[in-house]
Assembly symmetry: C2
Homo-oligomer: 228 residues x 2
Amino acid sequence: MAGSYRAVKAEVLRRIAEGAWPPGGPVPGEAALAREFGAARATVNRALRELAEEGILERRRRAGTRVRPAPLRQARFDIPIVRREVEATGAAYAYALLSDGVEPAPAWLRGRLGLAEGERVRHLRCLHRAGDAPFQHEERWIALAALPQAEGADFSQVGPTEWLIAAVPFSEVEIGLSAVSDPAAAAALEAAPGAPLFRVERTTWWEGRGVTHVRLTFAPGHRMTTRY
Amino acid sequence: MAGSYRAVKAEVLRRIAEGAWPPGGPVPGEAALAREFGAARATVNRALRELAEEGILERRRRAGTRVRPAPLRQARFDIPIVRREVEATGAAYAYALLSDGVEPAPAWLRGRLGLAEGERVRHLRCLHRAGDAPFQHEERWIALAALPQAEGADFSQVGPTEWLIAAVPFSEVEIGLSAVSDPAAAAALEAAPGAPLFRVERTTWWEGRGVTHVRLTFAPGHRMTTRY
DNA sequence: CAGTGGTCTAGACCACCGG
DNA sequence: CGGTGGTCTAGACCACTGT
């Protein structure tokens, strides 16, 4: 097990935890570690590269590798498709389209997506259920200039999210998480008007153009979790 | 630029976006791609491995590589130290200890950390400010059996989070995000009693033992964002 | 049981940047 | 300017798993 990048990672972590390599302090160079561990430099490189990506180490050319002073805590969350998320709980998934229309983009949305004044967007509100219980309220805007085929799409059976996955293969995305009080969403979710609701907002660009913005508001009590 | 793992990634992404390699469909083997691109297999391997880690591809031995049918959306969020987060906004950071005591662990906490009945925990409540405005309310429990030195630590000047970073180098962590209504936290944050508050909960284990649990509750309007 | 990805090695070139 | 990490190559062995 001497020459395994996993073994190298584990050993490096051990030395940091042990205090042998204190926070902010330097880590021996790849060549030295390769010699010490009896591994190829490429192997050590992969180990250190991954530790850097995980926020444990800090690497810079010429300056060398150091232990991050305050380990950059980062968490990776999966953002699954609602249907899968519901089905994972064992409940039956149900979808309903609440409202649907085409309208000029409001100012805040134009700013967010970079749209010109007067540009039209398709505006949808949907409800996703887990069994009989409301699970997630989705409010979505799609820029029709960027995605003309969205004007004729039928969202009565399949939610716009799933439709978009097929229509827009790749994009740049910004995700925001917050806690909100939204009487309209609360009503759709059959929650008290002032209930604190967990919201995920996602804006998507494609080739520099704003394509769509969505607000996913969850029924009270929803938690997003991850481990590492 | 033929033999660059970045070039390979870009080309693979292009072919997927283009529709040449449809979702769910197979991707040629590493050997074939290496031949086609005039690169070493290790180079192609790195490209495909990273795309798999990013949720674009799915790889299995013997079965080969496929394009993920519904691209696994995942987002990575940085969870910075409060002080840095506040200072990043340009505001002055201020810390205050609101309450501090040692008590038997309540049942819900024992379950979460895996503590025995009657085990004692240090229970702290703190407030982090950005300038004059309350920014984050921190409520923390530290298991004294697992971390005896926490009993005598002075948390009047430095928050327990920063103290813990120095005391517990590495650990397993579970993070949960939710929206809550918490009158006590709201009061400390000078918010309306029923205001929707964004909460981050983090449980930390070390060598299989539950060490600490924290509730970070943010002032109204807080947003956690990320791009990719 | 054969083929695919997973990993390792030894050697090499080079971009970058701190002193 | 020189040392460090970043990357690439050619070749090899092997673990795993679908057929």
